[in-house]
Symmetry: C2
Subunit: 103 residues, 2 copies
Amino acid sequence: MPVDELDPLIHAVARLRIMVVLSALTPGDEISFPRLGEVTDLTAGNLLTHLRRLAEAGYVTVEKSGQGSMSRTLVAATDEGRRALEHYRATLGRLLATPEPSP
Amino acid sequence: MPVDELDPLIHAVARLRIMVVLSALTPGDEISFPRLGEVTDLTAGNLLTHLRRLAEAGYVTVEKSGQGSMSRTLVAATDEGRRALEHYRATLGRLLATPEPSP
DNA sequence: GGGTATAGTTTGTGACACAAACTTAGAAGG
DNA sequence: CCTTCTAAGTTTGTGTCACAAACTATACCC
């Protein structure tokens, strides 16, 4: 009945947190992998996996440089990612507000 | 960091839909199992499982009468369920709104 | 150079959403 | 009455996924 479905990629709590944090960044800004892990309260393994899926969807960019302990990974939301989150927000707002008349 | 966690019982899309529909009912009102299945767009199997979990949590009541094709099952949200949804709504709103200052 | 710390990756497992198959019992109808 | 159909729930099997523990690679310190 509700034509608009909640984007399952964003709906997972962990990824939702990631997207919220990334979208809060000034466009053009980035955040480091470890810092993002702290802020979202995710272990590195989880963060990595979720970022991979978000990157595959084109919602985030992941830039890596260096190797081993010198590696620096920077993450940012893409415009598409921001739009997707906005759309999710709107859809969810609609869903939560809907009294859905029952005949 | 965000102390308030999203209630995972409600967060699943299917159960979220169920709770929204049930909460939209006038307190004291009930909805039939088949009708709830239609409105939430869930198969009977799914609906049953999700209702079971919601009932275990005390978020909904499930009243059964009759057997076989004569069985009538009525479902309603409990006060606790309504409160939980409200809390979920608030938590989510906070999460989605949080710009979360990054040092 | 052995130990410790940091950054990221791989892997194993348990939970869970989902739908297909099954059960039960009344109604249709011949 | 005996079969067939349909409606209402229930059980079960399967694929997906979130999660954390274990692992790899590299630098810093003594």
